[in-house]
Symmetry: C2
Subunit: 627 residues, 2 copies
Amino acid sequence: MIMFKPEERKIRVTRGISIFLAAKEAGVDIRSECDGKGSCGKCKITIKDHKAVNKVSEIEKKHFSPSEINSGFRLACQTTIFQNTKVTIPHESRIGLRKIQIKGLERPVKLDLALKKYNLTLPKPTLSDFRPDLERIFEELSNIINIRGLEIDYTALKKLPDILRNANWNITITIWKDRKIIAIEPGETTKELFGLALDIGTSKIVGYIVDLTTGKTIGIGSVKNPQAIHGEDIMSRIRFATVEDNGLITLQRSAIAGINHVLHEACIKAGIHPSHVYEATVVGNTAMHHFFLAIQPKYMALSPFTPVIKKTISVKASELNIGINSNGVINVLPVIAGFVGSDAVADALATGIHESNELSLLIDIGTNTEVFVGNTEDVLCCSCASGPAFEGAHIKHGIKAETGAIEKITIEPDSFEVKYKTVENAKPIGLCGSSIVDILAEMLKCGIINFQGRFNSKIETPRIRIPNGEKEFVLVWGTETGTGKDIVFTQKDVDEVQLAKAAIFAGCSILIKRKNLEKEHLTRILLAGAFGNFINPENAKIIGLIPDIPTERINFVGNTAVTGAKMALLSMEVMDTADVISNKIRYLELAADPDFAREFAYAWYLPHKDLERFPSISSLLNGIHKN
Amino acid sequence: MIMFKPEERKIRVTRGISIFLAAKEAGVDIRSECDGKGSCGKCKITIKDHKAVNKVSEIEKKHFSPSEINSGFRLACQTTIFQNTKVTIPHESRIGLRKIQIKGLERPVKLDLALKKYNLTLPKPTLSDFRPDLERIFEELSNIINIRGLEIDYTALKKLPDILRNANWNITITIWKDRKIIAIEPGETTKELFGLALDIGTSKIVGYIVDLTTGKTIGIGSVKNPQAIHGEDIMSRIRFATVEDNGLITLQRSAIAGINHVLHEACIKAGIHPSHVYEATVVGNTAMHHFFLAIQPKYMALSPFTPVIKKTISVKASELNIGINSNGVINVLPVIAGFVGSDAVADALATGIHESNELSLLIDIGTNTEVFVGNTEDVLCCSCASGPAFEGAHIKHGIKAETGAIEKITIEPDSFEVKYKTVENAKPIGLCGSSIVDILAEMLKCGIINFQGRFNSKIETPRIRIPNGEKEFVLVWGTETGTGKDIVFTQKDVDEVQLAKAAIFAGCSILIKRKNLEKEHLTRILLAGAFGNFINPENAKIIGLIPDIPTERINFVGNTAVTGAKMALLSMEVMDTADVISNKIRYLELAADPDFAREFAYAWYLPHKDLERFPSISSLLNGIHKN
């Protein structure tokens, strides 16, 4: 038995289980980025009773000072339990309330559901009315709807006779697309009609539980994509899928495990049972799409980079082992090309760029960033290998946008004093995407780094130091943080962000060029992604992440991939539009573009090697420093 | 290692395995009615090398004389092997070529298949044509057919990219109902398009492999229904399903195991691979229908005897674990009522009684016998619990209609000499349904039994004897038989047949009465069932199995249940008709009919207690004997 403090939740456990797993089982949130491998050091706990657990491991000694070890600090994933004990999970090891981008743009959708529920009270069979159970339902239904061609799912049928009699002939049936009965439930459950909108990102899986009767999001779940242990980026996962025995199946199972985790988390938050989720819409880049469906991704990675399928495919939930109602339907939205997936289609759905007269630049920032330029006449898109820096990964103190994450930051140019705001105003524990943009811009404006992203060695402040041969800037001193340790931004962090922003900006530039446009033609820039907060558009321009156009034309639209998936869940018309979009949007292969390499190299500078492209920024920077 | 003689087939086996199982594994046919339980004594073999096997068991001593045991006779199911040896399977233990009723009526069907195959050669992807694999197929298909709304089965999609490339872009796709791609195969396989028509009988499962391109039956399989070990008759199986833990699932699995056995046997005979069977039609009585689908049969057995579903249901093969192509479709045809199933619907489809102007009496003889009276205006039907006597079961020397089965028999009135004909003109080994009708009629005509079915004690002939207190008539002396033993017909055999025919005749009488008809109104009698040969209609009247109408109006139509299932396989229109029929045919519950008990008691006599109902027979019998 373990008692988790401070909430005093108890759980009976098997001898020898890790506290990390026990916490999971008990439903106690505990932070981890390596999923219990001992590498991230984030699942810190304290235990008073040393005898109840195994000895401190070598791995733990790397993460703690001797005094911390003496105080009972351990890593939950490295600690196995032998006797009843109490475990305290400190605040910094808590997964806070995620701050998720639902404030972003969400275009209104007219509800046009594929699912319908009907509550029926059937006449009981008698000696003069011995109609079969199913025919009884069909005849009752025919008073309400046209049942021509209506079918019933075999597994729904199997349970029918007992349900009818146990429910005293009052039941609720769920019909998909006026075509098939997929569920029969006892009693009146017409209000229990939920859907799941899912985005399988390279780094993260995010899902919304949507109340289909109102169109409202009522629960959100997210998890690190468990495929990451088989490769951080898409190409290494494709290699894993094609080279390793059962590699593809392993990746599919990882995705499914992650999705089911997200589903259950979101259902718990929404206070609903997963069996009342009857439909899901899934988006993801083309590799995630193929992995999820266990479709051979090999040919996608070889010229001419052909995906196996573009159009929407609907699969029964039980065929994919997704934990919604087993007869529910999983709609996997269409992709555009080998490297532009259904997440991009969802971006377009959510923002409507393909049906707007305005000429838009849409950037959906993620581990792979999709960029679109166009309007109702034509949309051109590309995919940039930006890496996960803006999602807080590969950044020393980067974290997800959760409680304690710093979401905004400013640095005083003279004193180098730092002001910040955290999610939920909690003690700071790390940096999320929006503040990472701020930091780079502020360090540049204050002259802490130069336009090549190098630390300025002439500045003297205790905040700049070189602990292990690498320069770093101290953003928050340990006395103020939730972890008790300094939060810093290192030279390597700067490099990561430079690479990411260069990839994205180069993509934008090439698209604008290939559309024969100038940045001045852009009516708006739409910035999408899950950063924790609205990115400061001024700062985005300062670091050269986006073209230098007037700030009032820049809009932050949030997590458009999930929003688009949600719209498709709410409307069959939108779902059909997805297939239209996937054929309409033209794809440009960046790697094959003759100008890409130079554009990328130039964009690596802050904001850019060619300062004429950033007139408003260059004057601003000139006024501040000249080194 | 065992070598089976005379074919000299060798198989490597595990030490301690029974020879019965080894023979199965080696694909060597060996007779059995108890499936290796030691009770039927039909799996006789001889072994010379006593040391290679276990000792003779008590069970075997009951089946063999000491001299037979000395000659090396054993039961294959009781003999386990320890060393290499040779096993001889004598002729009588062989499963002969089954004589199956395909000669019976088979109405021509215009091919109108749900399945279509298309061979496509696709352009290979190039840098200027990087369409996805599936879109490539759809676009090629759109030159041939209207693909609006065409879907693809998820599991068919998964294998697509490798198939395409391994097949050098030449593939054959299978589409179901112009709606869904269910298979994609390398190369040109349009000729490999097969279906399975199945009848799940209470005692026997029979299946035809049909070449869907020609409509011809090309392979037949049959097996004793493996559910029999959980109850011989329907009611005891329903009890098993509702009372035993997992009883229903056990019955479903038994049916599926039996069906897969039939499938593989039929495929081997047809020389085709089961993965090229893409669709099946299944018929069976309502209990078999519910067991097969694992649908709760409890309420079917309780007043008001409501089945759960009537209409046709189509289920993916993999959901039912049927070994045809895993994306194939299993169509379970509609039932009529709690005790009249889809086999009866198939009978109607095959004979067309529901669309004929002729007033027909249709009798499908099986363990449960379905009887229909009617024409295009109205059809009334009932179900009779006739038992399996006419299928050769519960009869001492009864066997299936296979090589060596006596199919016709006559007895000389004076000498009591017996003439017979066997299937394939082999040495006789037992009696099948058609000869069982003959025997009763002949014994009655010769005065060996009286009109109550009792043996006449006054007749003196060595053929009548009382070996164990029970009278029996020797039909064939052991010197002539394939088993070396006499083939006899006992008093108990006579009783069994009397009960069976009484149940059937009572059903016919009640239906005719409830339609306000006389037997003279019947334009024709259609006799269906798998007896081994055409039943002699004269003899059927003599024993009072069917009403006494002129012989030229009596037709033998064979195994109409499978024939009807086959017709539905060949034509979507026929499949639709099945649902129409299942609603049109009216059902009469015999047990609830006030006249049934008396009709049953009277019909127990040979031919009937009321001889006025059999004018042509009573004069015939009067001329022969008067005891």
